[in-house]
Symmetry: C2
Subunit: 266 residues, 2 copies
DNA sequence: AAGTGGTCTAGACCACGTG
DNA sequence: ACGTGGTCTAGACCACTTA
């Protein structure tokens, strides 16, 4: 209950800046350089995820243990863990502990798949690869992925189906630099984000999508089983890792006669 | 620092159930009937919004004052206020106080308008009413709005433009019962949710949207200045009040050649 | 019974905005 | 200088899970 001034708890080379002064040398508030302790704790813990010392599914130390390790109070650790839980990086289970989120958690599965049937329960789609090859990034791709122009990339084209009916064709672009040895992947799995995590330790933490309505191109029409010109929902997605760097670019052309894209605004 | 067991702080006819037992009669945990104190505080405060004793833009009492009023600690009030802030019901400003959110707050404006130009800054669209009349709900509308079949409703059709270019046609359906005296509204304003708030004390707190791609109907084509059959983005929205009851049904048909619908997945 | 996360409290100090 | 929200701490008790 006595707050004796917080002296330099996490001394490590944290990206941020020092905090409060002690009771004496409290002159420097840095005016702009101020980061709450719990955000510094958060960054320390995110680093453990980035570096892979904490991997998906793993039980992490208890709040008390982390508080001891980092030399802060349990309440501060709690606030850091709460923000990470809100970001879907951790899953907390009362009585059991706190776990690192995995891409196969059912909650996470649908975080990035928003297409649902008009009638019936949402389901995760099956996939079949149409084509997978190495090429160079277009200018637009290079900008979106924040890589140099004409950098080498992998391009995957696949057809996805729900309830055995084709629902979308998607083109996925991956910077080769982030996925060394991609050519050795024999079977491209349905859940790509699980592959990124297991094979390259890349966690997809967030994504932005832009939606448009377009007319179906002849090439896609064959795969989707509709006439060219049919209205399709076009979804452009940039997926980012824990540090906010773009990892994947994806263009999906979706049939929405029996499906819809669901959004909740709050 | 001594926690003496929390006895029945908010005695009011709160929807929930009693909480903990006192030090003696701690036999009843109700097994399922347990609501954290801060959620009860939240419900009390939301009630003030629903009843209108707190209105948009108003400065609400300080945390300390609320803690005294409700006979709980400041920390519990804080947690309740934090959840309400996360729900966009309140706006907190360090050094000034906590305010009731208003529909014209710029942050709130774009909470429910997700269309942005492909190039340039997002802007709020201008509107012109095409038609506004009284009719009865279709079966589908009655289901979505949770009203009786063939209930009287208002139906508004309007054209909205960005940068002086028509971008969408929307059809809005309102249950007459929730909007008494709607016929006296002379000029239907651009920001409808602000009107609902000021005129009927209805706060739109959340909405669900379903998106599809469709072909432009002949009727809409004229207004949007495109050929019939052109691909359009169809957005169906159910907007709900503070208590989660549906208030408004809206179908928008959007031109997305120079605009897109933006979603952030986290 | 032990351990974990979840809630609640009380009090200190800090940063921000206004007078 | 004052009041507000924001952060941090320390300790208590509750609810859930596992052993």
């Amino acid at each position: 209950m006595k707050d004796a001034g917080n002296v330099n708890r996490l001394g490590l080379p944290i990206g941020g800046l020092a905090k409060f002064g002690a009771d004496e040398a409290m002159a420097e508030t840095e005016t702009l350089g101020y980061r709450p302790l719990y955000t510094q704790v958060r960054d320390q813990l995110v680093r453990r995820l980035v570096e892979g010392s904490w991997s998906p599914g793993m039980l992490i130390p208890s709040e008390m243990e982390l508080a001891r390790q980092l030399n802060v109070s349990q309440g501060t650790v709690r606030k850091a863990l709460d923000t990470m839980t809100a970001e879907n990086l951790l899953v907390r289970r009362q009585g059991r502990g706190t776990f690192v989120a995995q891409p196969e958690d059912s909650r996470i599965l649908f975080q990035f798949f928003r297409l649902a049937p008009d009638a019936g329960e949402p389901a995760f789609p099956q996939s079949s690869v149409i084509r997978c090859h190495q090429t160079t990034a277009t200018d637009a791709e290079a900008v979106s992925l924040e890589i140099a122009a004409k950098s080498p990339v992998w391009r995957i084209e696949r057809l996805r189906s729900l309830q055995a009916k084709p629902v979308l064709v998607e083109t996925i672009t991956l910077p080769e630099a982030r996925f060394p040895g991609f050519e050795t992947v024999k079977d491209i799995p349905n859940n790509l984000y699980q592959l990124y995590s297991k094979r390259w330790g890349i966690t997809i933490a967030q994504a932005e999508e832009k939606l448009k309505a377009i007319a179906c191109a002849a090439k896609d029409a064959a795969h989707l089983g509709v006439r060219a010109g049919e209205p399709l929902l076009l979804i452009g997605r940039v997926a980012r890792d824990l540090e906010g760097r773009p990892v994947e670019l994806r263009w999906s052309r979706c049939l929405t006669s029996q499906f819809h894209y669901a959004v909740s605004l709050r």
